[in-house]
């Protein structure tokens, strides 16, 4: 992506210099800066080394998987352990000498892959047929140990990927809510935060999102639709993602954590929008809700009360984080769009709390309210993306707008006439809102346009 940008920039810069927008020295500095960021030869070396490692690792896997019958167990063990020792030994030697650092890091990744191959092959040689996710867990721990003791981002990324595989096997294969993922994920997080590894941080956030999706699916599989448990479940996850989003906002106010704040917010926002999208479906609001549900939970099963307590605790957490953030940013200026966002979010939270008690026969009305708030929220996201020049917000806003629009169009819950009214009223509101915003924008930027008649050089 960056290389394409660099090429385009290189073709554009002479024209900018000719026009006097950029000085020749400035153009050279820009070219050097972009070339440096796009990687150049260093990137190629790293890419080749990692691809080589992956090929070599795959070769070792398939070679030993042939159950090498000509060799005795001792020889096989010797080869497996010897390969591991040579690999880590060479990497350590290169790192200690400060030579061929990229190759050394690729060898560390190979070491992690070889350790996994060894776990599988020792299990094969000695016919160890245990609880199979444990093999992946052991492999992941091997990767974590490597990443903790040596500065290897690729080893940590591999370990996090293995943790996802492990939690997927445990939760989807054995139908268990798999909380053991969290402490190991936290171990990885502590390391990458200390090393400021940005790519690994993205992978860790993706891992958290996947784990939460597995957890939601696992609990959802055990919850019957008719008693409204799914509504509580989705709301619990919505509040949890909202709490994560607020954590991202709090990170922004702490210098040491600021670098990862935007990443946390973006992943949390994505998950939040997915959960809120689920809440726009009327079916979710048709079950037993309110005190009727609470009473049936008390007398029916302990699970219902557990869900209620989780939702209440998460609401309290969201409030606490909001107040904490407000306290830390009291002196900061608050642009109008932020206040609008707070009003929208606050209203959505109130609707979420109310919907826990207003479903059942009012379920259809609750779903309409969710849809209206959802559309309004997406329009707000696009508007904020425009103001803040944040392409991610614009893309995500339009993406979910299209998704929810298509969903409502093909939704068979409401009659065609109801949907028709919904779209028409929504369209009129959007057109009116757009007209109002455009008028406001023109009024606001009119003086500043006059003060910038041309470009800068």
């Amino acid at each position: 992506m960056l290389n394409r940008f660099a090429k385009r920039l290189k073709s554009e810069l002479p024209h900018w210099v000719d026009q006097g927008w950029v000085t020749p020295a400035g153009a050279q500095s820009i070219e050097e800066h972009v070339a440096d960021r796009s990687g150049g030869d260093g990137f190629l070396v790293r890419a080749l080394a990692i691809l080589g490692v992956l090929l070599l690792g795959s070769g070792v896997f398939t070679f030993f998987a042939a159950n090498w019958s000509e060799l005795a167990k001792l020889t096989k063990l010797g080869l497996l352990l010897g390969g591991l020792w040579v690999c880590y030994g060479t990497a350590g030697r290169l790192l200690a000498r400060g030579e061929y650092q990229k190759t050394a890091h690729a060898l560390l990744l190979l070491g992690v892959l070889l350790f996994g191959a060894n776990v599988m092959l020792v299990a094969q040689i000695y016919h160890i047929d245990a609880h199979y996710p444990n093999g992946v867990l052991l492999w992941a721990i091997g990767g974590l140990v490597t990443a903790w003791l040596l500065p290897s981002q690729s080893a940590l990324v591999a370990a996090i990927a293995l943790l996802i595989l492990w939690t997927g096997m445990e939760s989807q294969g054995f139908g268990q809510v798999h909380l053991w993922f969290l402490p190991l994920w936290a171990v990885a997080l502590i390391r990458l935060e200390a090393m400021q590894w940005r790519f690994a941080f993205h992978v860790a956030m993706v891992a958290l999102m996947i784990w939460s999706a597995f957890t939601l699916l696992t609990i959802g599989d055990h919850a019957p639709w008719e008693n409204g448990l799914h509504l509580y479940l989705v709301e619990a996850f919505t509040f949890a993602y909202l709490a994560l989003f607020l954590t991202g906002m709090l990170m922004e106010t702490t210098a040491r954590l600021r670098a990862g704040a935007s990443t946390v917010r973006r992943y949390a926002l994505l998950a939040l929008l997915i959960c809120l999208y689920a809440l726009t479906f009327p079916r979710l609001h048709q079950g037993l809700v309110g005190w009727e549900w609470v009473m049936s939970s008390i007398y029916g099963s302990a699970e219902g009360i557990y869900f209620l307590v989780v939702v209440v605790v998460l609401i309290a957490l969201v409030l606490l984080l909001s107040l904490w953030h407000r306290r830390r940013t009291l002196s900061s200026a608050r642009p109008p769009h932020l206040l609008w966002g707070q009003v929208l979010l606050g209203s959505m939270v109130l609707l979420m709390i109310a919907s826990l008690f207003l479903g059942g026969r009012f379920g259809s009305l609750v779903a309409i309210a969710y849809n209206l708030f959802y559309f309004a929220g997406l329009v707000w996201l696009v508007a904020v993306g425009r103001v803040e020049r944040d392409q991610f917000l614009i893309n995500i806003g339009f993406g979910f707008f299209a998704l929810v629009l298509l969903s409502r169009y093909f939704d068979t819950f409401w009659t065609q006439m109801n949907r028709s009214f919904f779209f028409m009223v929504g369209g009129v509101i959007l057109l009116a809102g757009g007209f109002f915003l455009e008028r406001q924008r023109r009024r606001l930027i009119a003086p500043s346009d006059e003060s910038h008649p041309g470009g800068v050089s």
Binding site: A66, N67, A72, L77, G89, F115, V122, Y126, H127, Q176
Partner: protein
């Protein structure tokens, strides 16, 4: 740097050796028992280069056995076995280690599913054979009988000690 690399190597090597040692401990200290195999599909008992084994004790009927009977998927299960003639047969099934195992052995497993019968996995269902030999044994003749010699340790852990074809030891597990 040397210390860190050494620590990684030590920990990872130790993990691998512990895997071997634990299995070897079961094989050397466990009580040897002979289990009757029941192939799911007799045409493919030996698939490729590993053997998929289904034992007579892999399907249990709670009605005909003592102990507990309310098992769910993925529950741990302790099966008490007694020797009847040549083979070891299930006597009772339990959620926890039975208080009086008597003269038999207790093998630990995991419930695969419980619909009428209880399907159990003991971790001895796969046996890898050298490349090529699995295919040679893929279609055992009608008169051939395959039995598995299993060692069960005092915690209920099991390991395959050997494969017998018509009562003769065809494969035997060794440490090295």
């Amino acid at each position: 740097m040397t210390l860190r690399i050494g620590t990684i190597l030590l920990l990872q090597t130790a993990a691998l050796l512990v895997m071997v040692a634990m299995k070897q401990w079961t094989l050397s200290s466990g009580t040897p028992i002979l289990l009757e195999t029941q192939p799911v599909d007799p045409r493919s008992l030996f698939r490729g280069d590993y053997v998929r084994l289904n034992y007579a004790i892999s399907q249990l009927s709670a009605d005909q056995l003592g102990g507990d009977d309310d098992f769910s998927k993925h529950d741990p299960i302790f099966v008490q076995l007694q020797q009847v003639d040549l083979y070891w047969q299930p006597v009772s099934i339990h959620h926890q280690w039975p208080s009086s195992p008597g003269g038999g052995v207790v093998i630990k497993g995991e419930v695969r599913y419980a619909r009428g019968n209880i399907a159990v996995r003991y971790g001895i269902e796969n046996y890898f054979v050298p490349e090529g030999e699995g295919r040679a044994l893929e279609r055992p003749r009608a008169e051939e009988r395959v039995d598995i010699l299993v060692a069960v340790d005092r915690f209920g852990g099991a390991g395959i000690k050997g494969v017998l074809v018509n009562g003769e030891l065809r494969y035997q597990e060794k440490l090295l």
